[in-house]
């Protein structure tokens, strides 16, 4: 992250990414992706900065952010547990995994644990339907998950 103690400050890399895209038509979504990659979500402050840098109205940014499910406007846990709720996973009990994770972590879907470590999210097909039910934590994919494995998976990231 950039110098200074502003946690919302854009890094050098992010700034040069935005510079590179500034004059390309249709750049907004790509820029927001890059912001979310850096911070895990798009905060109000980040949205302000993007509006300023791309010279577009903040309302337009929120129009886009609210339309696309992928963008988050609140900070997720350090480890965001994404449970697939696509059809293949649903048939094999994906919803039960969400329920059990909720019990184990004491939070609901799209909520963050008090210590900020974990959050739970239901997502659409992650494309590993052959391994249903599937959940992902960061870049790691867990397939054929059973309820009994959940405490172990959580422990792995604690």
């Amino acid at each position: 992250m950039a110098a200074g103690n502003n946690e919302n400050a854009f890094s050098r890399e992010l700034i040069s990414f935005i510079e590179a895209w500034r004059n390309k038509p249709g750049n907004l979504i790509m820029v927001l992706h890059r912001v979310q990659e850096e911070f895990g979500y798009v905060s109000r402050e980040s949205a302000d900065t993007v509006a300023y840098m791309l010279d577009i109205p903040l309302a337009k940014i929120y129009g886009v952010l609210s339309f696309y499910h992928f963008f988050k406007t609140t900070k997720p846990g350090d480890h965001n547990i994404q449970v697939c709720l696509g059809t293949a996973c649903y048939l094999k009990g994906g919803d039960m995994l969400v329920e059990e994770l909720g019990n184990l972590l004491g939070i609901g879907v799209n909520e963050v644990t008090e210590d900020g470590k974990f959050s739970i999210e239901g997502v659409r097909c992650v494309g590993c339907c052959g391994l249903a039910p599937v959940l992902t934590v960061g870049k790691e994919v867990f397939g054929k998950v059973t309820k009994d494995q959940l405490p172990g998976i959580i422990a792995q990231f604690s």
Partner: protein, 596 residues
């Protein structure tokens, strides 16, 4: 340089999740340790399709097919198979208990398959352009650049009879021709639709991960044919591996002069840029997708004008699905006549399906059009898992419908599926067994469509919500007999009045299940029961006194302490305290818990 042996490791997302990367590293180490790096090549390929048995390792030239391999098996595979020439029987794919036939061609899962789109998946290292070139890659582009006119390319596609694989099945040659014929455009665009929104389908992802160059080559061919210099690949942000492989492929293609300025010294310029989707299903619809590339909210607009004449930034735009693209280089090389011989009269070529759900062998299958559902489910998929009874197969995702046992012998093509009240869709094929409640699954699809409706037009926005409410009522045991008629009425209205195909097709799951499974709806409505035991409001868990031996296992698992009973005595469930979580049902080893 030719190697004595090739070890192919699946590097698709599904297998990567089961440690394929670690297996690859261990194999490299072992080969190195044996001093065989000059003779044996270890390659990370795309998906083999047989995901159920992953991670998979294949060794050539013997064509040995090893399944469920772990990193610690690497040593044995190298020492035994490579060094001593003895197959490691323990890891060979075991069908029906016989370990004799381990060759890929002997495995039933592959026997009825015919691979055009997935021709390179599992054979080449997708991050190495040389391997693609070694399998005739970019020869089609060369042919189009130097030997064929645009009209000849379009004629070839017309002879081939290729229809779009993204769902609607529109003839590809016609789209290209519309765009080609626009004379006064200062720019035209080529777009690849890799949004793959159908939940439960991953054909496009696997194609891009296993053979990214085939799509790049095809898009460049289209650029040359219709006169476009810029392409876009619109891909879901949820597919990081596919995005990475595309980026690698694009960089290599540029290095080789196969992409960018003055391609192969032909004077033709064409480049491609990746644009990420952001989790909106409706952006798979072509006009919404184009709006999204433009950086806007992805809302459909009425057609005509079609994108082929007025698309991205108002310019003529050819937009095709990943699988459609992957067919193109093969058609150019082998000819439209060859292609048209495969499949049926109505639909030529092959189709890739993601076979999932309650099937024994989940995976990615590519079959000639005209193959029957029964062949796919029983011969390739190995039938229903856990010896349960087949109930229905769903095709077309949230826009499609169910097909029942009596229609399993229908040869699959665009027309026949539509006649059955379903549709081809993009290739999701989800098998349901007796434990799946048809009303519950229908509600699942409806929920999906309602959540994904962009809200622009009222029939879809309001109609979808009303249908959801009725289904919810039925699964809670509050349905009335009039509800069925009402759902049909709303459904037909949505079909006629919605602006885009999302709203027009959203009622399909309802209309199709009400037709084929009316009895199950009536059981929910009249008898207030859920025959599959899925709808929580309609079931109770009960302990069968003659089967309960009083082991106390269920009582210890029950999260609400609703189960009481002494050791070795019959237990009982307090229905008032039961939250119907099903923990006891899963725990009991004696089948003493009954769902009523």
């Amino acid at each position: 340089m030719a190697y004595r042996s090739y070890i192919l490791v699946c590097g698709g997302t599904a297998c990567e999740s089961s440690k394929a990367n670690a297996i690859y590293e261990s194999l490299l180490n072992e080969v190195d340790g044996q001093g065989l790096s000059e003779e044996v090549q270890v390659i990370k390929t795309g998906c083999f399709g047989f995901c159920e048995q992953g991670p998979i390792v294949k060794i050539l030239p013997e064509d040995s097919f090893y399944v469920q391999v772990t990193p610690s098996d690497a040593k044995e595979l190298v020492e035994e198979h490579i060094v001593k020439g003895r197959e490691v029987k323990r890891l060979l794919y075991d069908k029906e208990g016989s370990k004799k036939h381990a060759k890929v061609e002997d495995i039933k899962f592959y026997q009825k398959q015919f691979r055009i789109v997935l021709r390179n998946c599992g054979f080449i290292d997708p991050e190495n352009v040389d391997e693609y070139i070694a399998r005739e890659g970019y020869s089609a582009l060369e042919k189009v650049l130097f030997e064929m006119s645009g009209d000849e390319v379009i004629q070839e596609l017309r002879t081939a009879g290729l229809r779009g694989r993204g769902g609607a099945g529109f003839p590809t040659w016609m789209k290209w021709n519309f765009t080609k014929q626009v004379k006064d455009a200062d720019q035209k665009y080529i777009v690849c639709n890799a949004d793959e929104g159908d939940p439960g389908a991953y054909m496009d992802r696997s194609t891009l991960e296993g053979d990214p160059h085939s799509v790049l080559e095809a898009m460049t061919i289209a650029g040359k044919t219709v006169g476009a210099n810029q392409g876009y690949i619109y891909i879901r942000a949820e597919y990081p591996l596919a995005i990475h492989r595309l980026e690698v492929a694009m960089a290599q293609a540029r290095d080789y002069g196969l992409l960018g300025k003055n391609i192969l010294d032909s004077g033709f310029d064409f480049d491609i840029e990746i644009r990420l989707g952001a989790g909106a299903f409706v952006c798979g619809e072509e006009t919404a997708l184009l709006a999204s590339i433009e950086g806007e909210r992805g809302m459909p607009v009425p057609r005509p004008p079609f994108p082929a004449v007025k698309g991205l930034w108002g310019k003529p735009t050819v937009i095709n699905n990943v699988e459609t693209w992957a067919n193109i280089p093969v058609i150019i090389m082998k000819g439209g006549d060859w292609f048209s011989q495969i499949g049926t009269h109505d639909s030529s070529g092959t189709k890739v399906f993601a076979l999932t759900g309650k099937i024994r062998n989940s995976g990615l299958v590519e079959v000639p059009m005209g193959t029957t559902l029964r062949e796919i489910i029983y011969d390739i998929g190995g039938g229903i898992a856990n010896d349960k009874k087949f109930k229905a197969v769903q095709t077309g995702g949230p826009s499609g419908g169910v097909i029942t046992e009596e229609f399993l012998d229908t040869p699959i093509d665009f027309g026949s599926l539509q006649k059955l009240g379903s549709m081809m869709g993009s290739g999701g094929m989800i098998v349901m067994d007796e434990d799946d409640c048809i009303v519950d699954v229908t509600k699942f699809y409806l929920e999906f469509s309602v959540e994904e409706s962009c809200g622009k037009c009222a029939p879809c926005r309001i109609g979808g919500r009303s249908l959801m409410n009725i289904l919810d009522k039925i699964t809670k045991g509050n349905g009335t007999i009039e509800d069925i008629e009402q759902m049909k009425e709303i459904g037909h209205a949505m079909k006629q009045a919605s602006l885009c195909a999302l709203g027009q097709t959203a009622p399909n799951p309802i209309l199709s299940t009400v037709k084929h499974f009316e009895a199950e709806y009536l059981a929910h409505i009249n008898d207030k029961t859920c025959p599959a035991g899925k709808c929580k409001s309609l079931i109770t868990y009960n302990i069968l006194p003659d089967l309960c031996i009083g082991c106390t296992a269920c009582a210890r698992k029950c999260p609400t302490a609703a189960i009481t009973g002494e050791r070795r005595q019959v237990h009982v469930i307090d229905q008032a305290a039961c939250i119907k979580c099903g923990a006891c049902f899963e725990t009991c080893k004696f089948g003493a818990i009954e769902i009523r």
